[in-house]
């Protein structure tokens, strides 16, 4: 089972990181990441960060979703 909540790295010591979700902090191993940095968002699975979130791709996805929304609204007849 995967928990998909992305967490932010707030501290790094050796290969361990402190990660934060909305004020809740815990440790996660950063062993599986290439070059982790404080401030980056990561996906955590079973105590390990397994991937950094690609911020650009996230923005792109959201843009597409929101554009679809705006477009649908415009093309809908009023009322």
């Amino acid at each position: 089972m995967c928990l998909a909540i992305p967490s932010k790295i707030v501290k790094i010591e050796n290969n361990m990181g402190i990660i934060d979700v909305d004020g809740v902090q815990r440790q996660a191993s950063l062993l599986l990441l290439e070059d982790p940095k404080v401030g980056e968002y990561v996906i955590v699975h079973a105590g390990f960060a397994i991937k950094k979130i690609d911020e650009e791709a996230a923005m792109e996805t959201l843009k597409v979703l929101r554009e679809a929304l705006a477009f649908a609204e415009k093309s809908e007849p009023a009322g």
Partner: protein
């Protein structure tokens, strides 16, 4: 306050719009399979089945690693828990899975030392604190979990911990898809591919499968609009008869995946032929510990007398896992088989299809 990279994808307006698009676009009767157990749960928890048109059926595939674990492996776990001077460590899901005669939970009630952990590092910590005990981790999971277990073995080696062992029952997803397509009677029009397995292996890992079967395939995230978006993309491909391998979870999944994690996984594990519940032996679909690391291999360290494992009588888990049946078509469902007294694993694991139906499905 919102949870970044999560709440944005839970916006009811956006979901509503995607549903509208699906409604406009999807005409054919189609059957989509979500391969990952977390997708199954998310689909139910968010009530997605009720939102999409009746013409789209969502089938749950072999995506819960607990459910696909073969009966003899479950029995082996229970047997290992009876070895002297051992501490069994496991993720929570396995506790209730019924073996042929018992379950880990029942063994714990009898006094066996079985501990639920949250990360393989907890198991190493337990091993370090209990040098006179043998600490065994029951390794169940797909490519998402396997690298974390591999990393724990590497760490144990580096830390010179010699009382930590792993029983590896890990499995890999892409090969299972091949096997699934060859299952008799299978009827699937498109696949919602797993999120976090794909985080590790990358979309590229599905190319051989895609090229062979030319099935519409979309990798999806777990939030409602992620899943709806994937359904929309699949419906579009099917209507246009233009199958593609697409990625709707680009913020987490790349073409190559997490190369470092793949490397660590391959350093420790090698491919093996293993049996899946409901599907049978799939060549190369398992991960066993390489000889180099045999000191950490519980399967080699402990003699396991494989007794006659019997799959629960009357349980349709095999057909459920391949999408041939839905839980309501199993005669035992809700009558004899409930989460309190589960007959098969699909009713136990929190992401098992029968458990999801039991919890969220209201009979219609």
């Amino acid at each position: 306050m919102t949870i970044k990279h999560a709440d944005e994808y839970r916006d009811p307006e956006i979901s509503r719009k995607i549903v509208e698009q699906i409604n406009n676009l999807s005409k054919k009767k189609i059957r989509l399979m979500e391969v990952c157990g977390t997708h199954t749960m998310s689909i139910f928890r968010n009530g997605i089945r009720k939102l999409i048109p009746d013409t789209i059926s969502l089938l749950s595939g072999p995506g819960c690693p607990v459910c696909v674990t073969a009966q003899n492996e479950i029995d082996a776990f229970i047997e290992i828990s009876g070895k002297p001077d051992t501490i069994i460590t496991t993720f929570g899901d396995l506790m209730r899975v019924p073996g042929t005669g018992s379950s880990l939970q029942k063994e714990r009630a009898k006094g066996k030392d079985i501990r639920i952990i949250y990360s393989t590092f907890d198991a190493i910590e337990i091993a370090r604190k209990n040098p006179d005990k043998r600490v065994i981790f029951l390794g169940v999971g797909f490519e998402t979990t396997a690298p974390t277990v591999a990393a724990s073995i590497l760490s144990a080696r580096d830390m010179k911990i010699d009382n930590y062992f792993v029983y590896s029952a890990h499995k890999t997803v892409p090969r299972a898809l091949f096997a699934l397509m060859k299952t008799e009677g299978i009827k699937i029009d498109g696949f919602i591919l797993p999120g976090h397995v794909s985080v590790i292996i990358g979309t590229g890992a599905y190319l051989p499968f895609f090229n062979r079967f030319k099935m519409p395939c979309v990798v999806a995230g777990f939030e409602p609009s992620d899943i709806l978006q994937a359904i929309l993309m699949l419906a579009e491909q099917i209507e246009n008869k233009s199958p593609e391998l697409k990625n709707a979870y680009t913020r987490a999944v790349s073409f190559k995946g997490n190369e470092k994690a793949i490397r660590i996984m391959n350093d420790v594990f090698e491919q093996a032929d293993v049996a899946w519940r409901g599907i049978g032996v799939i060549p190369g679909s398992g991960l066993k510990i390489r000889d180099e690391f045999s000191n950490f291999d519980a399967g080699k360290k402990f003699e396991i007398i494989s007794k006659d494992s019997k799959e629960p009588k009357g349980c349709a888990c095999g057909e459920i896992l391949t999408g041939l049946k839905t839980p309501v078509e199993c005669p035992l469902y809700k009558k004899i088989c409930t989460p309190v007294e589960p007959v098969g694993p699909c009713m136990v694991s929190s992401e098992g299809t029968c458990a999801a139906y039991y919890k969220y499905h209201n009979g219609d």
